[in-house]
């Protein structure tokens, strides 16, 4: 209602510039600035009309049902396993908040946590002395109760707030500095703490796109290669006797094998892709169109295997959204991109 009123208002504004248009035309009809032929072509394109048709059918979907095939497809994804790395700004912000917190909290009472003259107490004292009496482990030489407490901001280019440095500092601090005899350990007696695995795995280094332990902080999606070399999500025609989610499960089993623990998230498609039918000059059908409905699935365990698939797929890949953008045909990717998370 509002939009039509606005457009008629815009039309009236256009017509007001032409004095030779009659009064009724001025209020009711909007004269398009482009030619009639161009307009007809635009309508035909918008409604996917056959060559001889000039305007869309009234019962549009009923009459043209036979020109499309309905297909079911599954977008199988692996959820990210790691949180994303923080940006330098986020690191610096958290570091600043920690220093600010130093000024506002109550002091650490170590007698509450360590019994006097125990190994843990001695260990704490050794580490505290090495830090110059500072209780905080990763905040640098910052005395929150001292004269220069106001000077809590880092200078540009300082690496103190770096995530990796903080983790290494904490792991270094976790080493036991007291021997079993209750004495201070010599440097060669200190057992280093085992380092956690890096975020970059072997598959990342090799860029092995068939492995699932690649790009741990992003979602991976399963795509398969047709015999023609084109990549797509596992897809097959629907039969009349099954529902969308049933046929998606069938497609998954047929394409990627049973060696997966998967979960189809819902029964409602998360995306759809339409390929328009092609017509000859005499309006007979040259090629059927396709309407593909995508369901969402998650892989929990296992691995895809296309060796014994019955849908004629040659190969498979686990790819991120960015990689899919490069690989998939543009209209196909545009239909499915909105169901994919950024990460």
């Amino acid at each position: 209602m509002a939009s039509s009123a606005r457009s008629s208002g815009a039309a009236a504004a256009l017509l007001r510039r032409r004095p030779n248009v009659c009064a009724s035309c001025r209020t009711t009809q909007f004269l398009r600035p482009y030619s009639v032929a161009a307009e007809a072509q635009a309508t035909a394109e918008a409604h996917h009309l056959k060559p001889t048709q000039s305007e869309p059918h009234v019962p549009f979907t009923v009459s043209r049902k036979a020109e499309y095939r309905i297909r079911s497809s599954i977008i199988l994804s692996r959820a990210p396993l790691l949180t994303r790395p923080l940006t330098p700004f986020e690191n610096a912000f958290f570091f600043y908040q920690k220093r600010l917190n130093e000024r506002l909290t109550t002091e650490f009472r170590h007698s509450m946590f360590f019994k006097k003259d125990t190994a843990a107490d001695l260990d704490w004292r050794i580490k505290l002395e090495e830090r110059g009496g500072l209780v905080a482990k990763e905040l640098g030489r910052y005395y929150a109760k001292g004269r220069n407490a106001w000077n809590d901001e880092l200078l540009v280019g300082s690496t103190l707030s770096d995530e990796n440095r903080i983790r290494e500092t904490l792991l270094k601090d976790a080493e036991m500095r007291v021997t079993e005899d209750g004495e201070k350990a010599k440097p060669d007696e200190i057992v280093p703490v085992e380092k956690p695995q890096p975020r970059i795995t072997e598959s990342d280094k090799k860029n092995d796109v068939r492995k699932l332990d690649r790009k741990l902080d992003q979602t991976l999606y399963l795509v398969v290669q047709k015999a023609s070399g084109e990549w797509q999500f596992p897809t097959d025609d629907m039969s009349t006797g099954e529902n969308l989610h049933q046929s998606a499960q069938r497609v998954l089993d047929a394409a990627a094998g049973p060696n997966m623990n998967t979960w189809i998230v819902g029964r409602v498609p998360v995306a759809h892709h339409v390929v328009q039918p092609k017509f000859k000059e005499d309006t007979s059908l040259a090629a059927k169109g396709e309407k593909t409905f995508f369901l969402k699935g998650r892989i929990m365990a296992g691995q895809a295997d296309v060796k014994e698939n019955t849908l004629g797929y040659r190969d498979f890949k686990w790819l991120t959204k960015d990689e899919l953008k490069e690989l998939l045909p543009d209209p196909y990717f545009k239909s499915v991109r909105n169901m994919m998370a950024d990460r």
């Binding site: 396993l81 790691l82 949180t83 920690k98 917190n101 506002l104 909290t105 109550t106 002091e107 650490f108 009472r109 170590h110 946590f113 360590f114 704490w124 209780v135 905080a136 482990k137 990763e138 903080i166 983790r167 904490l170 792991l171 601090d173 976790a174 703490v193 956690p196 695995q197 623990n261 929990m300 365990a301 296992g302």
Partner: protein, 198 residues
């Protein structure tokens, strides 16, 4: 400490100043009421104590599968290694075989217990073991046929044997209850008889 008013703040106007103001007020009749309202200001915000928070450290948490994250905690230890969490618990890893509780009965104690008290205490419905001829035949057929079909037959046979035993609805405590039910009437009679004697 925090509740004390800072010395730099102006003090609350006393009644004496108000009264002096009121005595002066009649000179300007229009603004006589409004200034008194502005004069009586309160400073409730400065009376709220800053909450005392304990000192917090940054700690690295390592889950049982080796993944780590940092968090703020009161604990002065800089590394915490978890032994049981979602990464090695069977509820969150249903497909992990190594986490499943597999029964080990080398001494035969569990078998002896079952002989005496029945299978009602089992955590889950038992696998078929004494299915009889039907189950054996099914197992033999399964061995001869494909692996998958054999499994199916076995399961069917197990279901059948359960149906015979427990009349279609399998109750894990059923046999125990039925044993009690058999014994009860005799006891009851004895107990009822006793008070009569006394």
């Amino acid at each position: 400490m925090a509740s004390r008013l800072p010395t730099a703040l102006p003090r609350r106007p006393t009644t004496s100043t108000l009264s002096t103001f009121n005595t002066l007020a009649p000179q300007t009749t229009s603004s006589s009421i409004i200034p008194t309202l502005q004069q009586t200001q309160t400073r409730n915000a400065t009376l709220i104590k800053r909450p005392k928070r304990p000192y917090t450290f940054t700690q690295v948490i390592q889950l049982s599968d080796g993944s780590t994250f940092t968090m703020r905690t009161c604990s002065p230890h800089s590394l915490y290694k978890s032994t049981k969490d979602t990464r090695n618990h069977v509820m969150w890893n249903p497909s992990e075989k190594s986490l499943k509780n597999i029964e080990v009965d080398e001494a035969g104690k569990l078998a002896a217990f079952r002989e005496r008290y029945g299978r009602g205490w089992d955590a889950q419905a038992p696998e078929v073991q004494d299915g009889g001829e039907g189950a054996q035949a099914a197992a033999a057929g399964g061995a001869a046929g494909g692996k998958k079909d054999g499994k199916k037959d076995d399961k069917a046979a197990a279901d059948a044997s359960f149906e015979n035993k427990f009349d279609s609805s399998y109750d894990p405590l059923g046999d125990l209850i039925s044993q009690y039910a058999v014994g009860v009437p005799e006891d009851k009679g004895a107990k009822v008889a006793k008070p009569k004697k006394k």
